[in-house]
């Protein structure tokens, strides 16, 4: 039922989204904690919240201008490569991951600070307490980032180019198959994409419960 090309597309999608999420995690999580530990991060908070809702096509278009032959990043030759999609998805999920992690951590830190200080924790022990206690929030925001990355279409289409065997992802393949009237393969990919979404949603719930 699942041909080698479809399987390859699924694996590539997961790899691209996984890499983008891992890269975004490197700065999103520390930034979310840094914001939560500062009492006044209203401006950064507002900017991040605004960027969460940025349409993926708009981000794709901006990246296209930057990476195209007349753009400032043309010498990098990234347009229509999987790296370009990774770059775009990394930028896309960064505000979402910061925002979800920050909101959860901020509330917890307020309570934990008093508790930790009261129980004799030093500054380093306090930081460890924050991280340990907000681990489920951190994991949930990473999973949400991955979910957003794997399901996006605009960036993959505009800077990836939907090249078969190279930059085709699940979402671009579905769009192409539907436009061609090949609904069977689109349905298989759609079903797998749905499975990934359900699995990530379940993961968030499990992590939340353990927290």
């Amino acid at each position: 039922m699942v041909g080698p090309e479809t399987l390859e597309t699924i694996v590539r999608s997961l790899w691209i989204s996984g890499t983008a999420t891992a890269l975004a995690t490197l700065w999103s999580i520390p930034l979310a904690y840094a914001m939560a530990l500062r009492e006044r991060a209203i401006v950064v908070e507002a900017v991040v919240e605004t960027m969460v809702g940025m349409p993926t096509v708009l981000l794709g278009l901006l990246l296209y201008f930057l990476l195209s032959s007349s753009g400032p990043l043309a010498p990098l030759r990234l347009l229509y490569t999987p790296t370009a999609i990774v770059l775009g998805e990394t930028i896309l999920v960064t505000p979402l991951m910061i925002s979800t992690c920050y909101r959860g951590v901020r509330e917890a830190v307020r309570e934990l600070r008093e508790l930790g200080l009261s129980l004799g924790a030093s500054d380093t022990q306090l930081l460890r307490l924050y991280i340990g206690e907000t681990l489920p929030t951190m994991v949930a925001s990473i999973v949400m980032g991955f979910s957003r990355a794997v399901g996006e279409l605009g960036i993959a289409l505009m800077v990836g180019g939907n090249i078969a065997g190279y930059t085709r992802t699940m979402t671009t393949a579905i769009a192409l198959n539907v436009s061609r009237g090949e609904f069977e393969e689109a349905a298989v990919l759609g079903l797998f994409l749905l499975l990934v979404m359900v699995a990530t949603s379940l993961a968030i719930k499990v992590v939340g419960r353990r927290g």
Binding site: E111, L112, E114, L115, L117, S118, L119, G120, A121, S122, D123, Q125, L129, G132, E133, L135, R210, G211
Partner: protein
Amino acid sequence: MMIELRDVWHSYGVQGVWVLKGVSATFREGEQVLVVGHNGSGKTTLLKIASLLMRPTRGRIAVDGEDFWAIDAGLQSRIRRSVVYVHEKPIMLRGTAVDNVLYPLTVRGVPRDRALAIAMDVLRRLGIEDLASANAKRLSAGQSQLVSIARALAAKPRILFLDEPFAHLDREKRAVLAKVLAEEAELGTGIVLTSHSIEYADMLKIDRVLVMENGSIAEVMEKRW
């Protein structure tokens, strides 16, 4: 150990609204103090400031004569280990009840075996040893309250501040807690607790009752209870 508050004023940032208005009080090791007053009278703020968790907007906090907020962070951290504050609404850490009680011992570097023995002993004294392996986040309000008090007692503070410690407990558990606090007091721990009423003054052999009204200490009653 002695913590002195001198002309302490505190505001949470709302201009012109003072939660504490020129409060002066002294809390000593080995002394039991009950702070009574209506909701909003400033009891919790007073306790949080006296337990060195919050810096007052104005006024001086001295620990054994030394201005606490003028000393370096390392020394502040060491002094704080002698004082524990228990929130009215208990905050439970992830893990089991015993993990929670172990936390203050872990931060103090107590070896695991010894820490576990101390933690289990405190839970037993409070009659909640059967909760040791229960998920702390799923405990009832009363159980959480007792675990948070066990966690505070495990830290062996020189002065223990308790905000409404009897609030979520039934009559039987209140009696157990009062007995344990009386035992701690016998051992020389200073105990400062808030309450809406003076019902516990006799049971706990309270030395002093501070009556809070509208952010000030309206009355001090000594050893008549």
